[in-house]
Amino acid sequence: MSVYVQGIIFLSCINLIAVLGLSLLTGFTGSFNFGQAGFLAIGAYVSTIMTMKLHAPFAVALASGMLASGGVSFLLGFPTLRLKGDYFAIATLGFAEAVRLLVENLEKVTGGSRGIVAIPTKTSLTTLVPLTLALVWLMRNYIGSRHGRSCVAVREDEVAAQAIAVPVFRYKQISFFVNGLLAGLAGGFLAHYVGFIQPSMFGIQKSTELIVMVIFGGMHSVTGAVVSAVILTSLPEILRAAAAWRLVMYGAAVVFIMVVRPEGLLGSWELTFQSLRNLGTGSARLARDLYSRVVHGHA
């Protein structure tokens, strides 16, 4: 397998891990998180400091990044999760900016705006791919559970959710925390794959890319999140030449999706054995119909 294809797989998995968290928080629970890059940054920097300054094993470093990011989101949740949608979005945006500012100004620890280089490349496909698939499986289970249904209830109508005894704040908190863990993990993998980190990698642009992936496929479907993460990671690599226009098209695509098909590429369709069978019988039926019309003149 060429290095090029390998690179796409690495980045797709890393983005997918971050997107899974965001899909849970923004897609399924309905809390618009515009600052995902901030959590990635926490995971990236904490794990890097662990490997490079404290010589910790990779797994420990990753776990530290995850817990740091998860812990911060847990604390951040207290003042912010009770806020209305717009307020929460702005608060997360502000948070990501605050993280970036802090990183830029704590030069001794984080290397300031120049960042940290020569990070040992410990991310390997043999750990990353199975782990990513496992996380997808875990997330699918959660969404299909009573907890996942409660999250969707929170998204659809908070007042009604309360009326059926769903503790709204609690579920938002859980989603926010899980998102923090996953984003922190993605950040750790990212740092130890790319080999360097700088604050500019974790700005609004990164947050936007991840949100777009969720919108594109993952607001109502975990399968959709997977598909869109892979497609939207590969596409820019394939369309290298049009790099400058990439964000222009992103923006247009987002508006287009919202106006035409807000449920994204796959809607609520999930890949299951049942849905594959349905596809099978559906296409068989369609084929039979077409045959009938062509040969007999009617259905």
Binding site: G30, F32, F34, P79, L83, G85, D86, Y87, A89, I90, A91, L93, G94, E97, A98, L101, E104, N105, R155, V159, T208, I211, I215, A244, W245, L247, V248, Y250, G251, A252, A253, V254, V255, F256, I257, M258, V259, P262
Partner: protein, 290 residues
């Protein structure tokens, strides 16, 4: 010394007020935060810039163009990105996402077509600063202050003294009932967006004159949001009050603490107000009707 900072704060606050009022207007009628508002400001700034430099237009014409084009662009954005959602009664989340998409599109389109270079407005006014003892107010600040005051006055007159303005108020209060009373929803929404866009256009020119013009200056819209929230989302006088407060807080933070963390202070101010007084300083907290 303090008074000088206060004057600086009020000066920038005035610009924030123009943006915040447009933002609050849209919020009060459609109940969502128009994240693309800042991009109208940015386009207004560019329009003014090119009018002055490429067309060698007199200042009043450049400003006029920014106003009109700002309004028109805002109306177009509404038609493309929000109206379809409004007709479908889509949840607020979708509006915000669409707004984000429009914002990204406009920012990057400008970046790719016009380029990332910072542009400076030519000097339009060059009379000496006004002096009051130890205080001095730059000529530009005076112009900005007068212009924003005039625009806010005009807006206030329109909303409270004209028939169309009353229709806007009715729609802001309850869109559905207003439309049942014969008020044309689409028309009211277009007018609101025009006014918001026009004020953003002016703010863009003002901001461009005071600082510089660049494709992502629309990020200023965050300040407008903070100002509107502090003053009370949906309240126009609140937006002005919040903006002035924000301008002063920021200036003080930059002068006496650290300019790097100036933006953090703005966010902190917002968080504090939200926690202590969720409806904002002047806002009416609309509890969701069950």
């Amino acid at each position: 010394m303090i008074w000088q900072e206060i004057i600086n704060g009020i000066s920038i606050g005035g610009v924030y007020a123009l943006i915040a009022v447009g933002y609050s207007l849209v919020y009060s009628v459609l109940n969502f935060s128009n994240f693309a508002h800042g991009e109208v400001l940015m386009l207004g700034a560019y329009v003014g810039f090119y009018a002055l430099t490429a067309l060698h237009a007199p200042f009043w014409l450049a400003l006029g163009l920014a106003v009109v084009l700002g309004g028109v662009i805002a109306m177009a954005l509404e038609k493309i990105g929000y109206r379809p959602l409004r007709l479908r009664k889509a949840p607020t989340l979708y509006f915000m996402i669409s707004a984000m998409g429009l914002s990204i599109f406009l920012q990057n389109f400008t970046l790719v077509t016009i380029g990332p270079n910072f542009r400076t407005y030519p000097e339009v006014f060059s009379f000496a600063p006004l002096e009051f003892g130890t205080l001095s107010i730059g000529s530009l600040d005076v112009i900005i202050f007068v212009t924003t005051a005039f625009c806010l006055g005009l807006l206030t007159w329109f909303i409270y003294k004209t028939r169309l303005g009353v229709a806007v108020q009715a729609a802001a209060y309850n869109m559905r009932v207003a439309s049942l009373m014969g008020i044309n929803q689409d028309l009211v929404v277009s007018i609101v967006f025009f006014m918001a866009g026009a004020s953003a256009g002016i703010a863009g020119v003002m901001f461009g004159m005071k600082y510089t013009v660049y494709p992502w200056m629309g990020a200023l819209t965050i300040k407008a949001f903070i100002a509107a929230v502090v003053g009370g989302l949906g309240s126009l006088p609140g937006a002005v009050l919040g903006a002035l407060l924000l301008g002063i807080t920021e200036t003080f933070a930059a002068a006496f603490v650290s300019s790097a963390f100036r933006d953090l202070f703005s966010f902190a101010l917002m968080i504090v107000i939200i926690i202590l007084r969720p409806g904002g300083l002047m806002g009416v907290l609309a509890k969701e009707k069950a």
